[in-house]
């Protein structure tokens, strides 16, 4: 059930502890074209099914997470810390 999210740092928590930032998109290079930036800032696919989003564990570890879930079946496939994926940590 998507209302229970298993944070890699805190364990299984209710969704009320999190706030959702939206699709986990890769940020374009600063010198990327206007079109790329426009797509990154404004355009979303809004798929029915599997979806990767940034979730902030606001009431727990306060880390940014990437939640891979299905918005139809509410299955959660994985929850990972967002920092290593961006090469930001250590």
């Amino acid at each position: 059930m998507a209302s229970l999210i298993t944070c890699p740092h805190c364990g299984t928590r209710p969704k009320e502890e999190f706030s959702i930032r939206g699709t986990a998109l890769t940020r374009p290079h600063p010198a990327a074209s206007e079109e790329d930036w426009h797509r990154y800032v404004y355009l979303r696919d809004n798929p029915k099914g599997r979806y990767q989003e940034y979730w902030h564990h606001a009431a727990g570890c306060r880390r940014w997470l990437v939640v891979d879930r299905d918005n139809v079946t509410h299955d959660v496939f994985s929850v990972t810390d967002a920092a290593p994926a961006r090469g930001a940590s250590e």
Binding site: H9, C10, G11, T12, R13, P14, E16, E17, A58, A59, G60, C61, R62, R63, D81, S89, E90
Partner: protein, 183 residues
């Protein structure tokens, strides 16, 4: 500095404190805990954690990777600051006036807290010494198990009144009492 906030406890208006006799289920509001936030610099998570756990006379509470709360109910903030100042690769911030410390204990403490938090507090999954940030009565707090039937909640000061009233409400069916305590 924080002196004026410190000398008037945020729960002063919530507790009459006229020699209330403590029931088996009791909530103690620690009058002047020393609470510090410790953040490890990048790459120093493990070394800072090791050093923290070797310091005597403090309780270390887990918040997040590389982030802890250091709590002491016996020593003052200045003494704790000295103890922590030597730790390499860490930043420390005094939170003593920013957090209130509530200690709930008694035979029904888990039944009371089950109505406040969504985390499984069974000893198998939350044994003595465990601590974590979590939502308690809609407020992000740090909750720690310090004994078989004892939990400590570090609540942000400005939300403390709300959390206190709600925990007391949840404890009514178990005759939960509350009073200030010095340590």
């Amino acid at each position: 500095m924080s002196l004026t906030l410190f000398h008037r406890h945020v729960l002063e208006d919530y507790l009459s404190d006229f020699g209330t006799k403590a029931n088996p289920n009791h909530l103690a509001v620690i009058r002047r805990p020393a609470i510090f936030s410790v953040l490890a610099h990048r790459g120093h998570d493990a070394s800072v954690e090791n050093e923290l756990k070797s310091v005597e006379g403090i309780d270390v509470r887990d918040c997040a990777p590389g982030e802890w709360l250091v709590v002491s109910t016996s020593a003052g903030a200045a003494a704790i600051e000295n103890l922590l100042a030597d730790i390499a690769g860490a930043s420390i911030v005094d939170q003593s006036d920013g957090r209130a410390l509530l200690r709930v204990h008694g035979p029904n403490v888990r039944k009371i807290l089950a109505k406040c938090v969504a985390v499984d507090l069974h000893p198998d999954s939350f044994p003595i010494g465990t601590s974590a940030n979590m939502l308690c009565c809609h407020v992000a707090v740090n909750l720690a198990r310090t004994g078989a039937d004892t939990f400590e909640i570090a609540v942000p000061r400005s939300f403390c009144g709300s959390v206190f009233e709600e925990v007391m409400e949840m404890g009514r069916e178990f005759a939960l009492t509350a009073a200030f305590a010095d340590s």
